[in-house]
């Protein structure tokens, strides 16, 4: 028989003004199972909590109901107090008679009746509460970082500097990501590579960082603290251990005219290559699609010239399994490619603005490569068509972004700033040139950002035209750009030598496939979703997985770096304990009743439900049942409502508890 103690709080006068608390205490005292019932001015105060603790010991109470404010306010307080008095904290429930009663009703009689019923309901519920032990999960103190751009690099360095091993996986042959491609960065105009490459080298030299480049995530199993990640190391055709990075192979390779993706296909590279001179690691990769050896079986020059004998044409893809406890996803972004529509893309409106048809219409990233000192033109702004210096240049913003009709409704956030930067870089390099910018709005929130934008107009003489471009066509060696200046209300026509499009930031191609492997959610654009937009902006809803950088949504570098450090901090918080403790509100399967229809597995958004074989002593399979991994279960209870035989039950919200409450009414 339960001995329930009920404590009715006055909350000063907040409750007692409209609820006759003495009467509630008296009424509740008569309820079956209640052996102690009292009221007190402030239950949450120290004397109030002591009253509770003493009563538990003196009255030998087995279950507690505190009728006071919302459990969202003080449930933790009272459960702690109950625990201190030697009871399991989950044998304490709160009845909300403040927010849901005294504050929303004026009639004292009605409020008193309602409060009594609310308490009665919780009395019936608490009778069915069970002792729930806190769940502990061991933590593997190694972390996986997916993506070797600035976000991944920052997160990896922070975690590694804290003394925890990091596995950094990058899809491309080198780390560096998009930031390595940039020329200068706003708003300080410092050289991107100058600030980026030291960090890349730090990664390469860090004893706690294990780097996998030219590698992809194949499979993710397990749960917070205990992931098993299978990584596919794509065949490089060059033995990383033997290669010294001397580069002779690249100078001797006969295939020299392969467009280099790193240079936005303006510059050329060889078939055996590193994407850029400062690549980390400095080990080349053979591009098998363009290599003469792989195409014809002849050549093999690189192998012949390689002193250490590192070139290995027979190399195969390798699968490596790494156990980790936390995962940081930092896969970055891709640019809206308006010239060719990627297969299956829902985005409308490709092929506008002559991109892909008119050679001198380029995107912002190509401009970065032109402006970069290490780029294909050595930092000179030259037209791709004839190598001439453009004297009139037009920048068009919001290409793709904020175009609901095309399927991208969001603002790409960085384009206003980098276009302003482009006008400056242009002005610095082509002193007699004129830059025009077509823009809808200038969005420049950020430290020193607006000043930077104003400088491009006031000091660097860029002409900003508020309005969109309606038509653009080639005329001789000029590009005619027609648009309207809505601020002045006139049509504008510019004969430009070059046009630069500020294309939208999109998630990486195949972002959704990685999300499915990780079991994390993503929005309709395939940007990864955080657990809470405000309060948990770096955590995924799936425990143990964190987000950094533009894979979550458009971000500039400072924001990306902050989030990466934040994600690293979250990982370190997780690693600060040997065992992970979590609230025991998780689903459990009653195996005797389970028939293995796996409806629970089908509705579980967390992949917490596994299949478990039950065998007799001889090892014969009796049946396959569901098993809920308590480390993964988030405690929503959708499985229980779905289970036809109610063989899975959410602790803390069992059918018995719910039915008891309904029956109490």
């Amino acid at each position: 028989m339960s001995r329930i103690g009920v404590f009715i709080c006055h909350c000063g006068e907040n409750i007692s003004r409209t609820v006759d608390v003495e009467r509630v205490a008296a009424e509740v005292g008569k309820m079956p199972g209640v052996s102690f019932s009292t009221d007190y001015k402030y239950m949450c105060s120290d004397p109030g909590q002591n009253l509770l603790k003493n009563a538990i010991q003196e009255q030998k109470l087995t279950h507690i109901v505190v009728a006071a404010c919302s459990p969202r306010m003080h449930e933790k307080t009272f459960r702690k107090a109950v625990e201190a008095a030697g009871l399991n904290p989950y044998l304490c429930e709160m009845a909300n008679i403040r927010e849901h009663c005294s504050w929303v009703h004026e009639n004292k009689e009605e409020a008193t009746v309602k409060a009594t019923e609310i308490v009665g309901m919780m009395v019936e519920r608490v009778k069915k509460n069970r002792v729930l032990p806190t769940i502990t999960v061991p933590v593997t103190k190694r972390s996986l970082v997916i993506g070797g751009g600035i976000a991944g690099i920052q997160a990896a360095l922070d975690i590694a500097d804290c003394g925890h091993e990091v596995v950094l996986v990058e899809r491309e042959p080198s780390i560096g990501g998009h930031m390595a491609q940039l020329s200068e960065t706003f708003p300080t105009l410092d050289c991107s590579q100058c600030i980026m490459t030291p960090k890349m080298v730090d990664v390469a030299n860090h004893p706690k960082i294990k780097l996998y480049t030219y590698s992809e995530i194949e499979l993710v199993e397990g749960y917070i603290g205990n992931f098993q990640v299978t990584i596919k190391k794509k065949a490089r055709s060059v033995d990383e251990d033997r290669c010294t990075g001397c580069g002779v192979c690249m100078t001797k390779c006969p295939q020299k005219k392969i467009p280099n993706k790193f240079d936005q296909n303006i510059g050329m590279r060889t078939a055996i290559y590193v994407p850029f001179p400062q690549a980390v690691p400095n080990t080349p990769v053979i591009d098998r699609d363009n290599c003469t050896w792989y195409k014809t079986g002849k050549c093999g020059v690189c192998q012949k010239v390689c002193g250490p004998g590192a070139v290995d044409f027979e190399q195969q893809d390798q699968l490596v399994v790494e156990p980790v406890g936390a995962i940081v996803v930092a896969t970055g972004f891709d640019l809206y490619t308006i010239d060719e529509k990627p297969k299956g893309s829902p985005i409308k409106g490709y092929g506008e603005f002559g991109h892909g048809k008119i050679p001198d219409v380029i995107d912002g990233m190509t401009f970065e490569r032109l402006a970069s000192a290490s780029g294909p033109t050595g930092g000179k702004i030259l037209r791709p068509s004839d190598g001439k210096e453009p004297k009139q240049i037009v920048f068009i913003q919001c290409i793709g972004s904020r175009a609901r009709e095309k399927g991208i409704s969001y603002c790409s956030k960085v384009c206003c700033m980098y276009t302003a930067k482009h006008t400056m870089l242009y002005h610095h390099k082509v002193h007699d040139g004129q830059a025009y910018v077509f823009f809808m709005d200038a969005r420049t929130p950020g430290k020193s950002y607006d000043e930077f934008w104003r400088r491009s107009i006031e000091e660097e003489e860029a002409v900003y035209i508020r309005g969109m471009v309606s038509r653009l066509y080639q005329k001789g060696d000029k590009i005619v750009v027609m648009g309207s200046d809505i601020a002045v209300g006139v049509q504008v026509e510019i004969e430009a030598d070059m046009v630069v499009l500020a294309t939208a930031i999109q998630p990486q191609k195949g972002a959704e496939l990685l999300a499915q492997k990780l079991g994390i959610s993503y929005d309709k654009y395939n940007f990864y979703s955080e657990a809470h937009a405000k309060l948990r902006p770096v955590e995924c809803a799936t425990a143990g997985i964190y987000l950094a950088g533009a894979c979550q949504g458009p971000k500039d570098i400072p924001e990306t770096v902050s989030q990466a450090s934040a994600a690293a901090a979250k990982v370190m918080t997780l690693f600060s304990k040997d065992q992970l403790e979590r609230e025991p509100i998780v689903a459990r399967v009653k195996e005797s009743g389970c028939v293995g229809c796996f409806a629970c597995k089908k509705v579980c958004a967390y992949g917490a439900v596994e299949e478990k074989e039950i065998r007799d002593r001889q090892g014969n399979l009796i049946k396959t049942v569901a098993f809920v991994n308590p480390g993964v279960c988030a405690g929503c209870g959708t499985c229980q409502a779905t289970c036809p035989s109610k063989s899975v039950e959410l602790d803390g919200y069992t059918d018995e508890q719910v039915i008891a409450m309904i029956e109490a009414l």
Binding site: G29, K30, M31, P32, G33, A660, A664
Partner: protein, 355 residues
């Protein structure tokens, strides 16, 4: 108390030999029933509920429809589908329990009862009164007058003749009606209750005038040697035959629930923490839960074992205890079985089996 003495334990008066023979027209029978209804007596008779024939209380004699064998047997007049036996109420630490008083059961006249249904009722008296006297059953028996009705039609599921009964069997009836050519019935009394009914409504009955009775039904099945069946069952608790005949049983309770003689029940409490009712309702040995122990062990762990119990109980155990067979050949179980299990065919198989 073990073994139970064979014979009458119920304290109910034993049936008499036909004592009084009268005749009644259909019209007068209706008048009789209507006046009983008016007197506040519950008149239960075969009635069409939608398309389903059931024994149900009448509000008017015209609602009686004896054309088809009711889907459920007449046993429920004494052994309801579900009945309250007590209620409880909790206040604070105090629990108040109130028993249902059988005195409140209504006086009932059960009319148009088929011979196979009526004959099963005295068989049930034995089990409800040998050690524990089930006042719920017995009070309803005391308060009910049974008017039997001879059968003029039968189908190929009927086998009353096989178990020693017949379409004219009067066992269990207080008053027995045999339809006459051209309407009306011959009425024979078999108990004081039956006689009382005629005496109280003398004006509606007339003396028999030698009118011809309608030809009665002739079920096509021959007689079963029940002794031989029992003898086989005595020796064959374990037999491969059980697996053969009952593998297809799906474990529902349809056969038991429509049976006039099956009488297992379950007792459940329904209600909330604060108040509720203890109820008794039909149970069936075909359910897996029937013998499922709290420990999780189930001595009848397969459908063949459960079905064996059904046959054993009907043709052996009840005979061992009370010297009677728990089957009156109504054929209801044969008609309702979802998977065509045919008790008659099973008895035939037993009789034809080698040993």
């Amino acid at each position: 108390m073990w073994p139970p003495k064979k014979g009458n334990h119920s304290g109910l008066p034993l049936p008499l030999r036909p004592h009084m023979q009268k005749q009644i027209t259909q019209q007068n029978l209706n008048i009789l029933l209507d006046s009983l209804i008016k007197e506040g007596i519950r008149v239960v008779a075969p009635h069409m509920n939608g398309g389903t024939p059931l024994y149900e209380p009448l509000t008017c004699s015209a609602d009686m429809n004896t054309g088809q064998l009711p889907r459920r047997s007449a046993k429920e007049a004494f052994f309801p589908v579900c009945e309250d036996i007590m209620t409880y109420e909790k206040e604070g630490q105090k629990v108040t329990v109130t028993d249902i008083d059988p005195v409140r059961f209504p006086e009932t006249v059960l009319v148009g009862v088929r011979p196979c249904d009526a004959a099963a009722i005295p068989v049930l008296d034995a089990v409800f009164s040998w050690d524990y006297k089930d006042e719920f059953f017995l009070e309803r028996r005391r308060k009910t007058t049974i008017i039997g009705l001879a059968c003029t039609t039968a189908d190929d599921a009927c086998f009353c003749t096989a178990v020693g009964l017949s379409p004219a069997e009067t066992k269990g009836s207080d008053l027995f009606l045999t339809p006459l050519v051209g309407g009306g019935y011959v009425c024979e009394t078999y108990s004081d209750k039956g006689e009382q009914l005629i005496t109280n409504h003398k004006e509606l009955f007339s003396d028999t005038g030698g009118a011809k009775t309608l030809p009665l039904a002739q079920p096509e099945t021959g007689k079963i040697d029940l002794k031989k069946v029992k003898a086989w069952l005595d020796e064959h608790f374990e037999d491969p035959l059980w697996d053969g005949i009952a593998t297809r049983c799906v474990g529902c309770g349809a056969c038991a629930f429509v049976c006039p003689a099956c009488h297992c029940f379950d007792i459940v409490d329904e209600g909330t923490e604060k108040a509720g009712t203890r109820r008794k309702n039909w149970d069936a040995c075909g359910f897996w839960k029937f013998t499922h122990h709290a420990s999780g062990h189930n001595p009848r762990d397969g459908q063949p074992k459960r079905y064996r119990n059904r046959i054993m109980h009907k043709f052996k155990y009840y005979d061992d205890k009370f010297g009677q067979t728990l089957c009156s050949g109504c054929g209801r179980c044969v008609r309702v079985c979802p998977v065509g299990i045919d008790i008659k065919a099973i008895i035939d198989t037993i009789l034809n089996s080698e040993c």
